[in-house]
């Protein structure tokens, strides 16, 4: 079933033979056989780093953190949903659509949403449109630096299937192969209203306790890393950016 969906999605990409570096054959997706992430102590190898740099980076892998049960978790989820802090990292052209949200016309503050300049403090990452390979590296790093629970909102068609850049040599076609995405907002570009709607959708998801992207990422860590490492060739950061 899963496989089928993959095929369906990727059958008509029409990518030229052999060329797409960034959009691999779906059959090889998540194939981590040629990368090694862990050593015997189940610490990260950080093989992209030099010997010296390894001393300076943390080598703990992410782990799945079980949510609380019952009302307490619901309460916390409510708080999380009502206090969405957006990471101020405009990864693509869609970032321009974030700005109107702050204005008096849309005023995202009234929904408890506000921008934050550092990933440490943010809980939601809005991927503003197409993600090139170069940006992808930064996206991964920033996403990993956010503290869970954390949510990702893919903005625009480009994050879904590459959009108008579907056949570009360096644009990622589908975001959720690399980081878990909670909400996609289609459109090129979607208007701020759509964005707001997406955020509202996210709120609902969080309140329902489905916003477990961080745990998913940790769970499928090797799968994601395999995908990321396949496209990011100059991997000079640790395997998990704390």
């Amino acid at each position: 079933m899963e496989k089928d969906m993959e095929r369906r999605l990727y059958a008509d990409t029409g990518a030229p033979e052999g060329s797409p570096v960034v959009n691999p054959d779906p059959r090889t997706l998540g194939d981590s056989s040629n990368i090694q992430l862990f050593n015997e102590q189940l610490k990260l190898l950080n093989s992209g780093l030099t010997e010296e740099d390894r001393l300076n980076f943390c080598d703990t892998p992410p782990e799945v953190i079980k949510p609380f049960r019952g009302h307490w978790e619901n309460f916390l989820n409510w708080a999380r949903s009502e206090s969405l802090w957006i990471l101020g990292f405009g990864t693509g052209c869609g970032a321009i659509e974030l700005r109107p949200l702050m204005t008096s016309r849309f005023d995202m503050y009234q929904y408890g949403i506000q921008p934050r300049p550092t990933p440490r403090q943010s809980s939601i990452f809005v991927i503003g449109g197409y993600a090139s390979v170069k940006t992808m590296k930064r996206i991964v790093r920033s996403y990993e630096q956010m503290q869970g629970p954390k949510f990702v909102l893919g903005l625009g068609s480009c994050t879904i299937n590459g959009g108008m850049y579907y056949d570009s040599y360096n644009t990622v076609n589908r975001l959720d192969h690399y980081i878990p995405v909670d909400v996609y907002i289609a459109g090129c570009m979607p208007r701020p209203e759509a964005l707001l709607a997406g955020l509202m959708e996210l709120k609902t998801i969080i309140k329902e306790g489905r916003g477990e992207g961080a745990n998913k990422y940790a769970e499928n860590f090797e799968w994601y890393k395999a995908n990321q490492k396949r496209i990011i060739k100059d991997w000079n950061m640790p395997d998990y950016n704390w």
Binding site: N56, F57, C58, I65, N236, W242
Partner: protein, 1070 residues
Amino acid sequence: MVNPVFLIAITLGFAFIFPLFEKINPKLSRLAGILVFLTLVVIPLIWFINISNMDIPYIYSSTVGLPSNLTINLAVSYMEALVLLVVNGVGLFVYLQEAYSKESPWKGKQIILLSIVMLGANGLIITRDIFNIFVFMEISTISLFGLLSCSSDDRVFEGGFKYMLASGLSSVFYLIGIGFFYLVAGTLNLDALPDGINFTGGVLGVLWPLFLLSGVLIELKPAFANGWGMDTYEAADYSLGAIMSGIQATALIIVLTKIIPLIESNIIMPLLLVVGSITFIISHLQALGQSSFKKMLGYSSSAQIGLVLIVLGSGTNILLAIVLLLTHSVAKSGLFYTGKYFNECGSGRDKPLLVVLSSLFVIALLGLPPFPGFGAKWTLLQILGGKSDVFTIFIILLGSLLEGVYLFRWLGLKIKSDRDSGLVVSEVVPDDDAIPGYSSSDTIGVASQTGLAGLGGCIKVHFSSDSFSYHQLFPALMAVIMVVSGVVFNKGVGLTFRFLIPFSGILFFVVLDLFRVPTKFQVFLAIVASIILGFYVYPELNGFNTLFGFIFLFGIGVQFIAFFNRKGYSPGLMALTVGLLVSLISILTSKTNFQLFFSWEMMTLTSYFLVLRGDNAFAGGYRYILFSLASAFFILAGFSMLHGIFIGEYMSLPQNLLPVILIIIGIIIKFAGIGVHIWLPVSYAEAENDVSSIFSTVLSKVGVYMLFLGGLYFSKRVFKGVDTMYLLGWIGVLTSVAGSMMALFQEDIKYTLAYSSMGQVGYMILGFSIMSHLGWISSLYLVTTHMMFIGMLFLSVSGVIYRTGTRLMYQTGGLIKRMPLSFISALFAIIALSGVPPLSGFGAKWLMYSALLEKGWYLQAAMAMFASGVAFLYLFRLIHSIFLGQEKAIYLNVKEAPAPLLIPQYIFMICVMAISMFPNLLIKPLQTVIEPYFASTVRWEGYEVISALGYWNGNAVMYVTMGVFIIPLIWLLIVNRHVYKVKQFNIVYAAERPFKPETTHYAYNFFGHYQKALGFLVEPLISKFWNGTGILVNNLSGGLRRWNSGNPQGYVFQILLYVIFLSFLMGGTN
């Protein structure tokens, strides 16, 4: 009793027979020479003992066996015996040096001439005939010329020719003088002068003294007519310099003392004073610009003669002049020799004996303790002060300071290490490429090596056979004799036996050094010694003294532990440090001004040499000693006007303003008040780390002690309508602002700390100057606690420097992981230092502001608050740059600071914590100390101290703080369930990763914006001012130097002019 004529007969007989003797057996003849010279020493010694024991005023001998008025008489009194003893001692010394010198020993004619020189000097001293003086003068000069001719430098003929012209002229004048004298007096015999004749009436009466004096004075090389002598000094061998200044000049002064009584005192005294003053100042200035060591010493001799002339002219006890003269004689000749060996061996750092000897001789020359010149100068100034002769006091002290300028410069340049550029380098931050390479692994080795060198950069020495020759033993012997005689003399002036005993500790450790006892063992002994010292002096301490005694003993004693970190053998270190401790304690136990000043100078000297041990310490040490000297001289000038009343007895001190002002200025210089602070940072920074720490913790408090000692004596003095204490208060607060501001912009951590000390001492001064109960408590409280927390900070930083090998803060970083214990200590220290509650530093602030506000010094209070804010800034910078932020790759293997450095820190920390918890532990004793002076204005309710304005309960503050700290901490521990410990590069870096700790660590130019805003406040204007002063003095010196053009005719011209100048002084041209 030995007939004085034997001195002459023996010497002359030896000189005459020597050529024959030498032909027979050269070795034996040289031994005989020793015998003869020894006899020359022994005979006066016998006289000296006899005269002082048997109470004979004179030993008298008329030569031909006829009534004394008919012949030439020789006479020896107490004074002559003393002078002979010393002069002949110097002669013996020169003989031993030269007749047995390794390369080209003197023989034949040279030895003959040397003995004739001695003959001349002896004759000059003992003869009582005015023409006979002429003969002996010629004997000594001509034999000197003979000796000159075998100098190694053949320029000596030029100098010698000039000398001959000059001395020929002076003997011509002297002869003319004799002629006139004979015309007037009808006799040449000084003991057979007819009574009742006015020798100085009429034209003739003016002429004979004019020419006689011209003859003698010109031979004495007075300023503006001494170029010929100086040229000779430059070219002549060291030995001849020693002879000229050590033997001849001394003898000639004795001649002068014989002539002076003949002349009416209202003519001669002012003349000598003027001539002496001019010579003293001008010659020192001229010496200052010399690059030739010998010439410098030559000018110095001339200046010293000027000093003796001043003493003679001021009509004080002639014995003082003699003591000064003899000290000079021995010290100068000793210095000529040690200087010779020193100059021959390049950097003298690895020649401990020479270092010690040169230092001792320089100190003796300057009239510093423990040498006789010190007591003599002191007595002299006391007498002058009693006469309110401010001008002479000023001249004497100014000249002495100028002398210090060049002598200490020479000494410092000789002792400095080869790496030392001699400049104040660390005020400039090196270029970035000086940062150790990022990934080169061998820099670790380099770093640790330099670290070792930084701390262990002591005078690395050993008595290897090639650097040591037994010739140096003779100067050593001389130095020992001088020290002994100095102690004896100074004891005579006013030191007690009990007072002197602790100083023997220095000797003890010197002896240990001689036996190469390892430093660690010495440190152990030093700790024991300080405990013994504590018991020894405890009965004598009371009031402030107890408190400061505790600070000094405890502070230094605890920091002795840090010395255990020294590796190997550091000669002199413990002797000096113990010396410093003893001096400090003696300052406390002093019962008279003399004892106080003696200890003060000993403190200055020991600390100066401690500074000099640093690797780059030349400039620092130089500034340190100059300003310390200036400070000491101001205090000395002040003391001289107190009529001998101990400054501690403020009730009975004289009420005039001048001494107060002088002493306060001295103290201001000593605590590095704003404007005169430039010595402090560089000297504290460039001393070795553990030594700097002692300086900053303990030594910086001594100025404060001095203030408290004078105490109320300083208060309520009005200077131009303003209370002096008000001015002092402003100086204190400005010092603290300036110190803090300058500490803010330093990259070099030791400079930061040094400026910090300066600023903190400013607070103490401010507290003192408030002159109220609370003000004094605050000052003393700060004195005590500052000692502890600056000690923690300095030692913690020492550990860092020791491990990393760098003093530049931005080069380190992230060391909290490697050196957590040091970090904790530094953290507590900066909390306390910046006055943040709940630690004891806040107590100081609270007391200070309460006192200031109570007094009504509102603006000062605001300034003090500003300064404390700035202090907070640099302290944060310090701890951040070193311990926090990014760790450098080369310091990954750095270990925690060694235990000897940590232990004292934690001892201090325990004290700080105790005082913080229970402020009454400290404040209540302080109250009892201050009670005799001021009625208490604070009261206690349990742990709460209540002043007129506010209240503070240190105990409660501590508990509340602990409460508000621990509860959130527990909360955080509960809430934080999954905390991942990450590494230094795991930071948000704009979605990138950092690559180099060096570029990620924000530490360089940390307060750049502050500099932009207020940098104009720390423009080095004051440094510029002092540099300018230095340049001015140098230029002045250069200009004055040019007066001595080197042209023989010019010199003759000068001499003739000088005679005319003298004639004007005598009013004789009418």
